[in-house]
Amino acid sequence: MSNNISRRSLIAATALLAAPTTLRAQTSARLLIIGGGFGGASAASFARRHYPEAQVTLVEPNTQFVTCPYGNLLLAGERQISHITHSYDGLRARGVRILHDRAIGIDAPAKRVRLQGGDTLTYDRLILSPGIAMRWGAIEGYDQAASEIMPHAWVPGDGTQTLLLRRQLEAMPDGGVVGIAIPANPFRCPPGPYERISMIAHYLKKHKPRSKILALDAKEAFSKQGLFQDGWRALYGEMIEWVPGNRDGKVVKVDPRERVLETEFGTRHKVDVANVIPPQSAGTIAIEAGLANDTGWVPVNTRSFEARAAQGIHVIGDANIPGPMPKSGYIAHSTAKQAVASAMAGLRGEAPPEALYFNTCYSHVGTDYGISVVGIFRPNADGTAIAEVPNSGGVSPRGDLPEQRRLEAIYADTWYEAITKSMFG
């Protein structure tokens, strides 16, 4: 402690004249990032832009990144897989060392990570952005094999799941029923299932107008609910039936062969296409490293994103417990930067910087009908909590506001273009 204080006063006292050697030694830190999604790619880009001396290594099994955002527009037939697939070349050009391998074990005390390919990497700080894992079996009968018949399309990987669901929608005859099982909170992308309902309805209205969507939900309420339901009525009439948990909406069992979704009180819904979004947890590596608590998600310091269970490991993205913040791409992007700045400060023996986290999630209700939710969040000083800034943010206004909806659909495209460029450009 006294060492830190004296070093800090020394740097302050001598301004930067005497500091370069010390700073160079400290900033040539080895920053290891696991996971190349919204959290990990954002962390890598930010680290290279702002800490040029740091050695930044990114471990990601996929050679390209397929985004979850705009996957629903692919389901609508409004985007191709190439539109939502991004190369890691931009990060490579920034000087990020990219290893297309899978991290399979973390030795926190030794600061080492084992890779499936056999290598072991050592780090000074680890940024862990492992995404989510499906809790196979949480819905009876829903395992990996079942997901090849009833896709979740919730972890795109190489795009296989999203494309599978799209093909099933294309193959379904007019008059068919699309069943969608939606989990309880918390899960990745709270408004995502409802945008998916909207975008599937958009496709069906255009090509298979006698079809129905049966959305079976474990919850009684959802993100931007009023706005979504206003839009559904306006654009799709009676096509969508949403069944909340208290009206037996919770799917507890599936029969992939019969394409049946069975709810809590034993109602068996036979559907033509089944999209099952199962309960989730933090990515497997976080669980196996003992970073998660019994909820399956990782408790973190809300200011540094350091895992409560291990020093020097900053857990970002959907895997952590984010307080009132949503598990969204924008929050992963925003908190990734704070985690990197905190990691670099930590290596100097300094406290994490002041923090403000930022989120905007756009959803498409129709292709020209966008809605949004905004949140600005601040952690407390000791990193034990996060609060939304009072009287800020919130959802789009309700009412008959066609120009607002039209603009927000355009701004959703803007967001997608800008944020993916910020991450990968």
């Binding site: 800490y51 040029p52 700045a341 300094e350 910087p353 905004v374 600005i376 701004y411 495209d413 273009e417």
Partner: protein, 99 residues
């Protein structure tokens, strides 16, 4: 770059120092939130105005006008209401420096 400012400055303490010193990491992170729609470095994106390098006072005044609903917007009012005057000044300063 950012390391120049690792002297324990807080975001709120920034505005007075903004002329003389490089932005703190806190200011950079707060301002980069804008780039998720206004493009990398604030250079603009289809439908997202280019904000990089605009006058600091003009940027701050625009955000404050969004915050008070004096300037109509679809989303910027909801965003601007999340920030104090000092935070807006620090964000405006950071964006004004982008080229």
């Amino acid at each position: 770059m950012l390391r120049l400012a690792f002297l324990g400055l807080s975001l709120c303490a920034l505005p007075g120092l903004a002329q003389a010193q490089a932005p703190s990491p806190a200011a950079a992170i707060a301002a980069e939130a804008c780039f998720g729609c206004h493009g990398p470095g604030g250079q603009g994106a289809t439908g997202g105005a280019a904000i990089a390098g605009r006058d600091k006072a003009e940027l701050a005044a625009t955000l404050i006008a969004f915050r008070s609903n004096e300037r109509p917007g679809t989303i910027m009012g909801r965003i601007a209401r999340g920030y104090s005057d000092a935070e807006i000044a620090a964000i405006a300063d950071f964006i004004a420096r982008q080229r």
